[in-house]
Amino acid sequence: MSSLTRRLFLGTLLAVVVVSGTAFAVTYGGSLAWQQRDQVEVGVSSSDLSADATTMNVGLTVTNPLSRPIVVQSISLTMFPDGPPYDGDKLVDPRTATVPRTVIDAQSEQTVTVTGTVKDGQQSAAQTAVSEGTASASGTLTIGFSDRTYTINVGN
């Protein structure tokens, strides 16, 4: 066969190896990061109450040590007036907790603010808990990673 055809076939082989190798490297990196997703940490950095004690704002610091960015998608959070074991009533309705959709870059950390509505009748208990510094947050944060999602426990 002609040397042009020979080079064409060898060139195609190398091109095929390079294309599949590149796609594989990207995919495998993502897969490895997904298998280390438990290294993402969430810590409660602040909690305060609005002036009329109807809205609670909780600051969460999310640390992303992975090689890919993650997206903070949704939250289900409540506040207890004491630390664990959680004996007291819930101060915040978990279904009202919202968090802005935030992208956290690879190997960085960011603080997101969760806002929740204080339950009816719990305003004074919330004010006491926050002023005494005993209020503790507990809930689950939903994190998106590429097309998959998983949840992290917050607080305890």
Partner: protein, 154 residues
């Protein structure tokens, strides 16, 4: 020895002619083509299977065509029939080993518990399914298409 060096060089750069040549030439050509195509097929099938983390351009269609192409290239690069049959066998074997390694390796590299191997059952089931349903048929049809093409042109 220049004879050996020539044989190796010939196997790597002129595999088609080398497949009709002496023992060392044939060995080099068959190993070179078989290993590269097998590795390509395994890598493309991994992207085909795990589409969640694939780059935007790494679609299923593209990856499946790469696997087909890798089978096609086995015959186009090795003219002699018996050498090409050996090479497709090597390619499929290497592809299988690579597919299994890609799946199992993270568990040992990242030190993820496998519960004595039980946690690997489901990923391995997926790997074997994709091997039997996609990788091997696609590669082999590529190979057979090239055989037909070669025979047509003879």
């Amino acid at each position: 020895m220049s004879g050996t060096e020539n044989a190796i060089l010939s196997g790597l750069t002129r595999p088609r002619k080398a497949s009709y040549g002496g023992r060392l030439e044939r060995l080099v050509a068959v190993s070179f083509v078989g290993v590269l195509t097998g590795l390509t097929a395994a890598m493309a099938m991994y992207v085909f299977r795990i589409q969640d983390f694939a780059p935007g351009w790494g679609t299923e269609t593209l990856m499946a065509s790469l696997v087909f192409l890798s089978g096609l290239l086995v015959k186009l690069l090795l003219g002699e029939m018996r050498a090409s049959v050996t090479a497709i066998g090597v390619s499929i074997a290497i592809g299988t080993v690579c597919m299994l390694t890609f799946e199992i390796a993270p568990y040992y590299i990242l030190d993820i518990g496998t519960a004595g191997g039980y946690a690997l059952y489901i990923p391995l089931r997926d790997v074997i399914t994709f091997l039997l349903m996609f990788q091997i048929p696609l590669q082999f049809s590529g190979y057979l298409s090239a055989v037909v093409y070669d025979g047509f042109r003879a």
